[in-house]
Symmetry: C2
Subunit: 546 residues, 2 copies
């Protein structure tokens, strides 16, 4: 798969790819130098206003990209009130701007997208009905999804030698048939196993709220693009937090569903497939509203993804009613090895308090759950089971170096650990015990969901993110979870939440993260993705819309 690229010099190959991508942005969509000159990965500015300031989009295009979620855009397009062409053009422009601001894209195929959008419009006109539930909607994709005719290098220089995809990923096929328009793929980290979306082909994605902060990973390109409103709905993947970390870093919503509900068939993997580990990856949507996450899940699962991928559970998407209130929430407030920084301690405390005041019950779980650090170590072992070290081979094949965050995103305790078949049995047994404990806690306390941090702080400076133990817990358990943006870092409000005894990791530097988005993570119960989304709507109503 990975032909040797080192002959031509990896830097040259990567630069040439970057140039080819940049050339896909028409000159009239280029940022004025008054804006572009402000952009650097050390600048603390927010670029969220740049699309408007750039004057590249019309007022109507600004409106279409800023004031609607996917559901409402589809409604407009399906009823002929707006053309998919116009909507797609608006998002192409805005994605082009986002790319110039935060470097969030890997592949650009605006021409194909506009052609597809025209097809959608023509279909509606001719047939008098929409193509499907996603009629005409531009959807962005993590680079690892295959789109026929488009590269999927996933940031490995060695993968530049691969030809463009000969076929669509199963999920791309499914969403296309439902009416989606694909126009960009988005950036991700080398190996996908670090939270800085940075690789040697496409470089680093920046956080649009504050360019000096990470956009998160591994689906960081999606997180930044959606926050810039260069997309309202995107496809992500998550085995340790890759859907949720970019969501919480950038301030958008995302769902990591129960594994095996959406199809991986036809995706490009950063390592060896099919792992014998018991912690499974999941594909999930990221977006700007909870109902959009639901729309994506329902549309995909209604399309019988098990017909495309034998690993997808043949389990229908259930229509569920809003939950009976009041609800019962477990609350996990963290682990001393990764204590919550004041902005997130405040967000979680405020969320729990508001839910309690709204009549819901909060059950504190901190003293009842197995040690979170140990659980994270077990989880990480499951990611390091390949004796062939395939990701390393992919990197070495081109001579490219490791990106700087790779060493920070691993457990020092496991530096010299070598996987063995024998230990895998033991690890599975440890996992089974922990799963059992959570099951008992949920049943005994009649919990509807569990509230916990998604990460110990907001987005942090580049290359300092470290190991994401709070998202990893969810993958370990294979429960579904949503990230809901909530509050922002505000050193004055956060000050009362400073714990002088805490050993903050990475360091708590209030000046550096001021204004960065906060978030809470809401974890549902296995296979109850449907119920989780309804519960998150209740939480959102209390915290944000109430």
């Amino acid at each position: 798969m990975a032909a040797s690229a080192s002959i031509a010099g990896w830097e040259q190959l990567a630069a040439s790819k970057r140039d080819a991508v940049a050339a896909k942005i028409p000159s009239e969509w280029r940022l004025p130098s008054s804006l572009s000159s402000q952009i650097s990965e050390t600048s603390k500015i927010s670029v969220l206003s740049f699309p408007r300031e750039s004057k590249i989009l019309t007022e109507k295009e600004l409106d279409l990209t800023e004031n609607y979620d996917a559901t409402s855009l589809i409604e407009l397009m399906s009823t002929g009130k707006e053309k998919s062409y116009d909507v797609t053009l608006a998002f192409c422009k805005r994605a082009a701007i986002a790319q110039q601001c935060v470097n969030c894209l890997t592949e650009i195929f605006f021409d194909e997208a506009l052609q597809r959008a025209r097809q959608c419009d023509e279909y509606l006109e001719k047939e008098g009905k929409p193509i499907g539930p996603l009629h005409g909607l531009p959807i962005s994709l993590k680079d690892s999804f295959n789109v026929k005719g488009v590269h999927a290098t996933i940031g490995y220089v060695s993968f530049l030698a691969n030809p463009p995809a000969q076929f669509n990923s199963a999920l791309v096929d499914i969403l296309f048939q439902a009416g989606a328009v694909f126009y960009v793929k988005t950036n991700l980290p080398q190996t996908m196993m670090t939270a800085d979306s940075h690789n040697n082909i496409f470089g680093r994605t920046l956080n649009p709220n504050n360019l000096s902060l990470t956009a998160g990973g591994s689906t960081g390109g999606e997180g930044a693009l959606i926050k810039m409103r260069g997309s309202v709905l995107g496809l992500t993947t998550d085995i340790a937090g890759s859907t949720r970390i970019p969501a919480l870093c950038n301030g958008i919503s995302a769902l990591k569903p129960t594994a095996s509900r959406l199809p991986f068939m036809g995706k490009v993997a950063p390592g060896r497939v099919v792992s014998p580990g018991s912690v499974l990856p999941a594909i999930g949507p990221a977006g700007v509203s909870i109902r959009d996450l639901e729309l994506l899940m329902k549309t995909a699962i209604d399309s019988h993804p098990w017909h495309y991928d034998a690993n997808v559970l043949n389990v229908p998407w259930r229509k569920v009613e809003p939950p009976k209130v009041p609800l019962r929430f477990g609350l996990i407030r963290g682990h001393p090895r990764r204590p919550l920084h004041p902005p997130i301690a405040r967000a979680l405390h405020t969320a729990a308090t508001m839910l309690k005041e709204a009549g819901h019950t909060i059950v504190l779980l901190d003293d009842k759950i197995p040690d979170l650090w140990e659980t994270a170590l077990l989880t990480w072992k499951m990611f390091d089971l390949d004796p062939k070290k395939t990701p390393k081979q992919h990197v070495n094949a081109s001579g490219e170096p490791w990106v700087p965050s790779i060493p920070t995103a691993a457990f020092a305790e496991l530096k010299d650990w070598v996987a063995s078949l024998n230990e895998l049995w033991d690890t599975n047994l440890e996992r089974a015990k922990i799963l059992n404990t959570y099951r008992e806690l949920v049943v005994e306390n009649k919990l509807d969901a569990i509230l916990l941090p998604g990460y110990q702080t907001t987005a942090v400076p580049h290359d300092t993110f470290g190991v994401p133990i709070y998202t990893m817990l969810v993958n370990f358990l294979n429960y579904p979870a949503c990230i809901l943006p909530f509050l922002k870092a505000d050193k004055q409000s956060d000050a009362p939440f400073i714990n002088k005894d805490a050993n903050y990791e990475p360091p708590y530097e209030p000046e550096k993260v001021e204004g960065a988005p906060g978030a809470v993570q809401v974890m549902g119960l296995p296979m109850m993705d449907e119920e989780l989304l309804e519960i998150v709507k209740v939480v959102e109503q209390v915290l944000v819309k109430g």
Copy 2:
């Protein structure tokens, strides 16, 4: 877990256990010597008439045990037309007779059962309603299920040192709450990995149709007990065919569901838990009617087994309508390494012909599926991943020898094979490819189910069963499958099906198997256990009831 038993001499310990079990049968329920003297593992007689001939049961008890399925018995008991006490007493007597005929039991707890049955009757009288959907029904259990206060040695002499169970298995708890009455546990092979239900504690279970034939395994005790009508519904487990092999050997119905629908929590395992292999065991019901298999599944899953066991999928049991006919069946007629013996070639051919004549479509898959022998080898590798060889340790702990069938139930090709983590990745990849091929075949041919042999022949002489490649395929795929008894070995009718070029394995010896039950296996689609049972009802209507 396995304390050393060798100090006391394993033979003595085992004999003492057998005596204790035998002592649980009241003297008035002992077979007359006119019958018992006929019983031996080399005799070719059927003992199916012995319960009636023994005159131990009243006419009413004969009627209750012979002429009803579980559903109709529960109906009688739930409406007060029959007492659970009377029904339970009848099945206790008949199980005692079965035990003396075919040695199918491991644990007997008639007194506790009769007491429980009284409770059920009193509950109905007092509350005016049944305890639950299994009100008062005697249910038999494979020895590996834990019943509080009862041993679970699963045939390892070393496990005799373990104390009686301190708790019920999760599924036992669930069925108890639904109204079940437990009265016996049933025999199984040493290690559970051979098809002769034979171990050094309880000895060998015989086939009630013909004592010189195997009762199958690993749930052979259930198969023989149910065929003797000493039970109408029993719990089995299946990782290579252990639910289905006894069903086809004895001539009863059984379902191996999709894995992870019924809870293993609290069961006793013959080896190390939790395997990193990707072929999973499943618990399933065996019985005398398809609707009873459905009743068991529905009752268990309606009880939220995921509240008891984190490995159970939180997926409701769906109420499905009878399928739209005509149906589309794939047909697999076997592999040259294990060609179908004439009785099963005839059964399968006749079934396919009758289904076709009834208007259904048959799609021949033999040339389209991956090599079945290679698939079986991959499956077997998944069973041999434990570097500690835990089952061997359990055997060696007491000094007991291996039972004779163990070496016959393994692949010669894998004799010197040693599992490794690296190869497990490759094996998973091979499995993924095969799963994908079957998925494509099902989708492209719009198959509702696949008809295939459960085994290449009927029950065979003891210790000659060998490797069960046709049941293993189903575990490998993790599809659900039912065994439906159909036709019997009849050398005259079978003669036209003799293939002179076939290398029958074990040898085809028509005299030895004359009259043994035939069967077909109907494999459904993953997670569509509900639909499979409805499809099997259609098949049964055409083949048996039509």
